[in-house]
């Protein structure tokens, strides 16, 4: 049981990182980034390929985050002028395209077979239980650092400009800020955090494959964000933890209904998850940790 809780905590931590990455662009800058799975994938593949070729794990991770950030900048340059809902659709398209390219370009990514045997920090020398604990410590450290950086960014002029952009783009433009540059920066940083989360995931599980980046992942993270409350970092973390509790807790509800077939029980579990989310949204539309309106 203990190992399961540790493993699920690692998952929650990685989800929280992803939510933070999306929150930077969405909550702070008002740009809906549904390309999260794509940037997650880019980070994962970069570190997988590099470390398999012999690079050290930290090198792979930093490279993964940087390449993802670069990809984010490119996507932002192309799409930053779009309205929120259009941006959502286009960035979702980016995600799906990354997944399909990864599945088809076997020479690069090994296709739908995926890449197995990716090294993890001290994986070969410690027991699996110890490895999980070590990894949890790593994820928590990264999370704390990212939270700190996010907090500083939000409080800094950079963050204030982003919020101004989010709340009224015309005013911000009149105020003379280079709107596009700020948006690209915000997008890139968010994408970088997503890529970092991807590198962590890949080194934790030692495997990467296109199917991991299916729409299911995007839906999970978005639900986590909305559950926690879009716009504030505490909300992102709370939402991610809450979502993992929902996803995993719902498994244990299954044994209570023995007269249904397995497919039906699986359906009930999904109903529980989506239903509970809708209920929480209804009661607390701002999420579990609604954003307090910042003073102007």
């Amino acid at each position: 049981m203990g190992n399961y809780l540790v493993a699920m905590s690692v998952t929650a931590g990685i989800y929280a990182l992803m939510a933070l990455g999306v929150n930077l662009t969405w909550g702070l800058a008002g740009m809906v980034n549904l390309g999260l799975a794509g940037f997650f994938a880019v980070g994962g593949y970069v570190t997988a390929l590099l470390t398999k070729a012999g690079a050290a794990i930290p090198v792979g991770m930093v490279a993964g985050a940087l390449v993802a950030a670069l990809a984010g900048a490119v996507v932002a340059l192309i799409t930053a002028r779009l309205r929120a809902d259009y941006l959502a659709i286009v960035t979702l398209g980016f995600s799906e395209s990354v997944r399909i390219v990864a599945a088809n370009e076997i020479w690069l990514t090994n296709g739908s077979d995926g890449i197995a045997g990716i090294r993890g920090p001290w994986r070969a020398t410690v027991s699996p239980t110890a490895y999980n604990l070590i990894f949890l410590a790593i994820v928590l450290s990264v999370l704390i650092v990212v939270l700190f950086v996010m907090h500083r960014l939000a409080a800094a002029p950079f963050g204030r400009v982003l919020r101004a952009l989010r709340d009224d783009e015309d005013v911000a433009a009149v105020a003379g800020k280079t709107v596009l540059l700020f948006k690209v920066k915000a997008f890139a940083i968010g994408a970088g955090v997503l890529g970092l989360a991807g590198t962590l995931y890949v080194h934790d599980t030692s495997y990467i494959a296109p199917d991991i980046f299916a729409p299911l992942l995007t839906i999970n993270i978005v639900l986590a964000l909305v559950l926690g409350g879009v716009g504030n970092n505490a909300g992102a973390v709370v939402g991610a933890v809450g979502l993992v509790i929902l996803l995993e807790g719902s498994r244990f509800a299954a044994p209570l209904l023995p007269f249904l077939s397995a497919a039906q029980i699986a359906a009930i579990r999904e109903l529980l998850i989506s239903g509970l989310l809708l209920v929480i949204l209804r009661i607390l539309p701002g999420g579990l940790v609604p954003e307090r309106v910042a003073p102007e």
Binding site: I78, I100, A267, S274, P285
Partner: protein, 291 residues
């Protein structure tokens, strides 16, 4: 292996046929967007609901195609009204993004309700399968033509209602300028109800049309989500004629893309289409909110 230039006429014909079917749920998505201002992802599972309602009518009750299609429309429409009233309407004050996310959760919930009721097995309608007709070096299926006819009639009826009836004009008024419409005394809540009924009904009909050519399972609607979105966006979100044009464009583009790309890159084509349109001509082919 990619197609050759000599295949173009057949590819275009295939694209027109698949695009015609796509029109129906695409109009549903775009109509909800026009009046309620958010992309309703649950359109995908209402398509599934409609497909299964039609299946029950056809296989369990023995109804022929047209009455079963009507059943698909009606059942999906009613579920659409109920799901919006119970789930989405109370969330509208929280903002459009929250409602959009809620529509994703609603989509998952509906899909699993269908799975709860019917399991995962693939099911087929009780309709004869016919060989294609051939003419001028091309081939087309009688079922495709029937689907096309149903789609044309449905869209035609919709246009008639929108332009010739009072309630249709009221819907267009709300879509065009909600404040003015409210001043003129049009009940926005009633219009929302009506739009959900019609739009989700069309989604359900679309789901059944897709299932007629293939088979149905709980994921039927979800698989078409991307294409439906692409069609609505390319035509201009909120424009019903746009959805028609967009669906045909997307259908034809997906087929023609086989000239240059292997067939399993089809989804990328859909997204590229969306990307191109949104970055270069965000109002879509016909511009937003033109009816």
């Amino acid at each position: 292996m990619t197609a050759a230039l000599s295949d173009v006429p057949q590819l275009v014909l295939n694209g027109v046929m698949s695009g015609a079917i796509l029109t129906v749920p695409a109009i549903g998505l775009t109509a909800i967007y026009a009046v309620l201002r958010f992309p309703n992802f649950a359109v995908a599972s209402h398509a599934t609901v409609g497909a299964f309602a039609g299946y029950l009518a056809n296989v369990m009750l023995g109804w022929p195609l047209v009455p079963a299609a009507l059943a698909a429309f009606l059942v999906a429409g009613v579920i659409g009204v109920v799901s919006d009233w119970v789930v989405l309407r109370p969330l509208r004050p929280a903002g459009l993004i929250t409602v959009t996310i809620a529509s994703v959760a609603l989509m998952i919930a509906l899909e699993n309700l269908v799975r709860l009721g019917f399991g995962n097995a693939l099911r087929d309608y009780d309709l004869p399968i016919l060989r294609d007709w051939r003419f001028a070096g091309l081939r087309v299926g009688p079922q495709q033509l029937e689907d096309l006819a149903i789609a044309v009639v449905a869209v035609g009826v919709l246009f008639a209602v929108l332009h010739l009836t009072r309630v249709g004009k009221a819907m267009r008024a709300v879509a065009d300028n909600p404040t003015l419409a409210a001043i003129k005394g049009i009940d926005a809540a009633k219009i929302a109800l009506l739009v959900n009924f019609v739009a989700m009904g069309l989604a359900g009909l679309g789901g059944m049309l897709i299932g007629l050519d293939t088979s149905i399972d709980p994921l039927t609607g979800f698989r078409t989500l991307l294409a439906v979105f692409a069609a609505a966006v390319v035509g201009g979100l909120g424009s019903i004629p746009g959805a028609v044009m967009g669906a045909l464009t997307v259908g034809i583009a997906e087929e023609l893309s086989q000239l240059a790309l292997p067939p399993d890159y089809r989804t990328v084509v859909g997204f590229l289409a969306i990307l191109l349109v949104l970055t270069m001509r965000p109002r879509g082919l016909l511009g937003a909110r033109s009816y």
